[in-house]
């Protein structure tokens, strides 16, 4: 990475009034071209596709693409399975996200406290699952849940309990556990980094006033790192809305996961079945929901955080 390439020769040679503007766009252009091709164009295209459907003039006639307006959206939202998928991840998010973030927050506060040892080891141990790709983690936990292999079942069987963690009743929470396992340490690290940035003398005054560790954690530390917690919450909400990999992989070992288990799986299934219009409409619905929820959540919490 030395001076071998100069992507902006025009700006480089130019001296005078506004060389910086040209240079700036020169630096931005390579990224923006890729961003346009792989972000903006697909978004435009998926909206376009969602407004079209296919018709055949006769049973064996050629396929024609026709404008159908919002019909695909109506069929998506009228599709009971798709709507149930939305409800399922809403339930998932309401439970899994707060539980995971609470675990992350407690662990971050404990690691930040002066009353523990081996901080480095714990920090690493909690973060290791993040290095396991979602698909591999799902394969691994699939084995850990399967009653024939599971060490849990091997431990509980003598006690007379032989739960099937892949059955329809509990599979949603088995997936929640898998997602929590993967991302709790990552979120913990974001919060921990924010905690480490607080100047220590902030606590001294409180300590002189006789505040306990718990009071300092709850009254001083948590409010200060609230923006970091909000950030992890937004990332988690986005992640929940596009939940795909884990249930898709789990579906290979659990019959309880249908082809419309989450909205994203449903959209993918429609595309695979070449129902492009319907699949595109489902994708747009997921995207809009993600953006709206993230923005609303940011707005709501910003007010509270900034007081």
């Amino acid at each position: 990475m030395t001076t071998t390439t100069a992507p902006i020769p025009a700006a480089a040679r130019r001296r005078g009034s506004a060389p910086s503007t040209r240079a700036a766009w020169g630096f931005l252009t390579p990224f923006l071209v890729g961003f346009a091709v792989f972000y903006l164009v697909p978004i435009g295209y998926v909206i376009y596709k969602s407004l079209y459907g296919v018709r055949r003039s006769s049973t064996f006639g050629p396929i024609q693409e026709v404008f159908v307006g919002l019909a695909n959206y109506r069929s998506a939202l009228g599709d009971g399975d798709f709507v149930r998928g939305i409800g399922r991840i809403a339930l998932f998010g309401f439970v899994q996200v707060p539980v995971m973030l609470l675990i992350a927050l407690v662990l971050a506060l404990l690691l930040d406290s002066a009353r523990i040892r081996f901080t480095r080891f714990f920090r690493l141990a909690f973060f290791v699952p993040y290095a396991v790709p979602g698909a591999i983690a799902a394969i691994m936990w699939g084995f850990l849940y399967a009653p024939s292999l599971s060490p849990f079942n091997q431990l509980t069987r003598p006690l007379g309990a032989d739960p099937d963690l892949l059955s329809a009743d509990v599979i949603l929470w088995s997936i929640a556990n898998l997602v929590t396992w993967t991302y709790a340490g990552y979120n913990m690290l974001i919060m921990y980094s924010a905690l480490q940035a607080i100047p220590a003398d902030l606590y001294e005054a409180a300590r002189i006033d006789g505040a306990s560790d718990l009071q300092i954690a709850w009254r001083i530390k948590v409010p200060i790192i609230a923006p970091a917690v909000v950030l992890t919450a937004v990332f988690s909400i986005i992640g929940t809305l596009q939940l795909f990999t884990e249930p898709q992989v789990m579906a290979t070992v659990s019959t309880a996961i249908s082809s419309s288990y989450t909205p994203t799986i449903a959209a993918y299934a429609q595309i695979s079945a070449q129902n492009y219009g319907l699949g595109a409409a489902m994708s747009v619905i997921i995207t809009v929901a993600t953006v709206v929820l993230s923005v609303v959540f940011f707005r709501l919490t910003r007010k509270r955080v900034e007081g």
């Binding site: 990475m1 100069a6 992507p7 902006i8 020769p9 700006a11 040679r13 910086s20 503007t21 700036a24 630096f27 931005l28 990224f31 961003f35 972000y39 978004i43 295209y45 998926v46 596709k49 662990l107 404990l110 690691l111 002066a114 009353r115 523990i116 081996f118 920090r123 690493l124 141990a125 973060f127 290791v128 699952p129 290095a131 396991v132 790709p133 698909a135 591999i136 394969i139 691994m140 084995f143 396992w181 709790a184 690290l189 974001i190 980094s193 480490q196 790192i225 970091a228 986005i238 596009q242 990999t245 992989v249 994203t264 993918y268 595309i271 492009y276 595109a280 994708s283 997921i286 993600t290």
Partner: protein, 298 residues
């Protein structure tokens, strides 16, 4: 990357602030941390143990302890499986991740630097649009991208996975924060007075000052691509282009029909997780500075 000592001064690191005093250890805190360690590490321990077992022992012996040592046989089975297709998958993952992260980091660095260090009309709008890209679910992009590339007959090519992997809006966001914090404006001005071109300033000076941040962006992008599942699933149809995540997934789908695959899948899973875990342990300081920067401006 030699300039690793130039930790960005966004904040103090933990190492820079030794605890003021050593308080008594709290047994309750240690117990909670110990329990959490078990939760996070036991599944990995299970994977290590399971990789040393024969398919028969996987079901018949206790999961969390060793039985007859079958690791070498398992490794051989993985290596020989379909003429070594597993190593092909690992190689593909490495290609997609290294290629995507290397080019992606450079593009993000240039864009972030421009957004941080130049005043120009449309700057904030450009940044907002890019930042909006962070919010767009990847699932909403992969599917239309497939439809688009399908019309040009470009699906099922290495490029269909590699090129989209080079674009990281989050990388631009991080690069902007880092460039603002670690590239002093006076230094750039001094360079300009000396007659250095804008590109020379960036490639000889700014890029070096941003080096630690670039490692962080590279790591984020590397992991994101290594973990990617949906994009290759949608794009690729031939086995020999699969990354390891997709390859193992397809093996897993055959599990009910071919139970003997169990030992191979388990061992291959361990092999595909190890490189990343090792990279994490070696490079963790870059993770922390990156995560810290991410949380600063939330």
């Amino acid at each position: 990357m030699t300039a690793t000592k130039l930790e960005p001064d966004v904040r103090r690191t933990a190492e820079a602030t030794p605890p003021v005093r050593r308080s008594a250890v709290s047994p309750l805190s240690m117990a909670v941390l110990g329990a959490a360690t078990l939760y996070f590490l036991l599944p990995i321990f299970w994977l290590v143990v399971a990789a040393t077992k024969s398919t028969g022992d996987l079901t018949s012996t206790f999961g969390l302890w060793f039985a007859d040592f079958h690791l070498v046989d398992n490794l051989r089975a993985v290596a020989e499986f379909q003429d070594g297709v597993f190593f092909r998958w690992l190689g593909n993952s490495a290609l997609y991740s290294l290629g995507g992260a290397t080019v992606g980091t450079l593009l993000a660095a240039m864009a972030g630097y421009a957004l941080a260090k130049y005043e120009f009309r449309g700057r904030e709008l450009t940044f907002s649009v890019i930042l909006g890209g962070v919010l767009v679910p990847y699932t909403a992009l992969a599917v239309p991208l497939f439809l688009l590339l399908a019309e040009g007959g470009l699906t099922n090519s290495v490029w269909s996975v590699l090129l989209p992997s080079m674009i990281s809006p989050f990388g631009v966001y991080l690069a902007r924060i880092y460039a603002a914090a670690s590239v002093p404006g006076e230094l750039l001005e001094a360079g300009r007075v000396d007659g250095a071109s804008e590109s020379r300033l960036f490639f000889t000076m700014a890029l070096r000052l941003m080096a630690p941040a670039l490692v962080t962006i590279f790591l984020f992008q590397f992991v994101a691509v290594w973990n990617n599942f949906l994009l290759p699933l949608v794009m690729l149809s031939s086995n020999d282009k699969y990354p390891v995540t997709l390859g193992l997934y397809t093996l897993n789908t055959q599990l009910t029909l071919v139970p003997e695959l169990k030992a191979i899948i388990v061992t291959a899973s361990l092999l595909s997780v190890l490189p990343l875990v090792i990279a994490f342990l070696c490079l963790q300081r870059f993770w922390r500075s990156g995560l810290a920067a991410g949380s600063v401006k939330a």
